[in-house]
């Protein structure tokens, strides 16, 4: 479904962020993109939606359903962003406009981007919040972003991201900026929503264990290049690249995470 071929990205004359990145995500599949900060994971995600920083030079091709998404402009690009691919960024407090209430954020996505009538969008906003496990729906809808915790706000973002039933979800370290106690909860909700809707996911994280728990395949990224792609157990039992091995060894022992263990809590 998603095919990234030889994607390279440079900023300015000599800052190369991505080097010949190639990666595919099949329909319904979850692919993890693992690496340390600065390795180019986020930039890969952002290139798919054409929201890389201004002044970036991008080469290579990215296709979604065989359509060259880097070549999309205007209305076609807008539709792809609104209906097919959605993204969850790291810091929810930065994602929501600080001066607009939460409800406006959800309505904006459904009405202004996807073209649903405002009335439907309003009703759906409440339903979506319930779906991501929020009880005090009305209070949250009326709240401004600064009045909510990061975990609560990230649920709102997830609700917004699944509103259009996209077929691909781009998740950029969705739990890193959150409180340790809410990280697992939010991850569980995300995982649950993905399964419910049958979405494919490209999941960026620095946490190899987390990726192993929620992804079907994992790509390891270092200095803007993908050094290894494999099944989680392959990477765990038989890492090929020295960097993967180092990642495996550096993680804290005895901590394994499964979505099932948290989804009910």
């Amino acid at each position: 479904m998603l095919n990234i071929d030889n994607l390279s990205l440079t900023i300015g004359p000599d800052l190369q962020i991505l080097r010949d990145v190639s990666l595919a995500v099949a329909a319904g599949e979850a692919v993890g993109l693992v690496g340390e900060s600065g390795s180019g994971k986020s930039m890969t995600l952002r290139s798919i939606l054409q929201i890389e920083p201004a002044g970036s030079e991008v080469t290579g091709t990215i296709t979604f359903d065989d359509v060259d998404v880097r070549g999309l402009t205007g209305e076609a690009l807008r539709r792809m962003r609104a209906n097919d691919v959605s993204m969850i960024a790291q810091n929810p407090h930065a994602v929501l406009n600080p001066v607009l209430p939460v409800e406006r954020y959800l309505i904006e996505g459904m009405h202004d981007a996807q073209g649903q009538p405002t009335k439907t969008a309003k009703i759906r906003a409440g339903e979506l919040l319930e779906q991501v496990g929020i009880d005090a729906v009305d209070r949250v809808l009326r709240s401004y972003p600064h009045q909510l915790s990061g975990g609560m706000l990230q649920r709102v973002v997830i609700a917004g991201a699944i509103a259009g039933r996209p077929r691909l979800m781009l998740a950029d370290e969705p739990t890193t900026a959150l409180d340790v106690t809410t990280q697992a909860e939010v991850m569980a909700i995300l995982d649950e929503c993905r399964h419910e809707l049958g979405m494919a996911m490209l999941f960026v994280t620095h946490d190899l264990d987390l990726a192993a728990a929620v992804c079907d395949r994992i790509a390891v990224m270092k200095d803007g290049e993908i050094v290894e792609i494999g099944l989680p157990e392959q990477l765990r039992d038989n890492p090929q690249h020295p960097y993967t091995r180092a990642l495996m060894e550096s993680r804290p022992a005895g901590l394994t995470w499964t979505p099932e263990s948290e989804a009910t809590s």
Binding site: L49, A89, N97, P98, V99, L100, G109, A113, Q147
Partner: protein, 313 residues
Amino acid sequence: MTFILRRLAALVGVLIASSFLVFAAMYAAPGSPENFLVQGRTVSPEVLAAIREQYSLDDPFLVRFWNWLTNVLHGDFGRSLANQQDVGELLAGRLPTTLMLVTLAAIIIIVLGIGMGIVAGTRGGVVDKIILLGSNLGFAIPTFFAALILMSIFSVGLGWFPVFGSGDGFFDRIWHLTLPAFALALPSSAVVARITRTSIREERDSEHSVMARARGVAESLVMRRHVIRNSMLPVSTIVGVHIAGLIAGSFVVEYAFTLDGIGTLLVHAVQRKDFAVVQAIAIVLVAAFGVINLLVDLFYASIDPRVKVETNR
């Protein structure tokens, strides 16, 4: 609500303190207060008695202040030391010109300053360069110099506007005050334009604007709802500060265009050492300055939800 009350109380406190400063200033002058007030003018014994009465010079210092302050609060600003006119009436007669001048200038700052800033910030390219250069030079142009240049081009040269005077009737006044208002608003507009431009640039690349684009919101809507709207938050405080600052700037422009406003009255009073008039104008202007600043803060609190919550706690 408590926020407004607290701010009001603070304003009242500052106003009392500053009126004391304005009142006590004359005692810093060398010589006796009587000599300072009379300033070598030849006055009849009756007038001298009236001046002593006006400043209750026979009473102790604090009583003098109290008498003066209560009179001021009752709208009694005493009489001019130079020509015995009632200062309150003098002020009231001059107020409309100044009010109109400041209002016109404020409108120009908002329309021109913010407008230019938005154009520069959203368009980029040559337009941006020109506006940026213009604002870098514009803030450096003293209002009195702008006044002279505008006057010599548009009044004397082209004859489009009157050279001096404030005009009669609403539209005639606007016609007379147009050039002065532009001269007064020019430097502030330049600053506001530049800050608006910077603010728009920052908001354009802010995460919530980028993510709105990534969600498929149309660019024009992102610009309106996320970029321009949010960039107006810092801009509104700057605009407020500059509108409050127009009060002082208006002295100079009024004087340059010989308008019959409060500013010209103040300049003449300082030149003629008519301290009763100086004091009255100082008090009125400090109060106006404080009220405008308060209104700006309240306005800011009303448009940014984050401020409200912090201050309510």
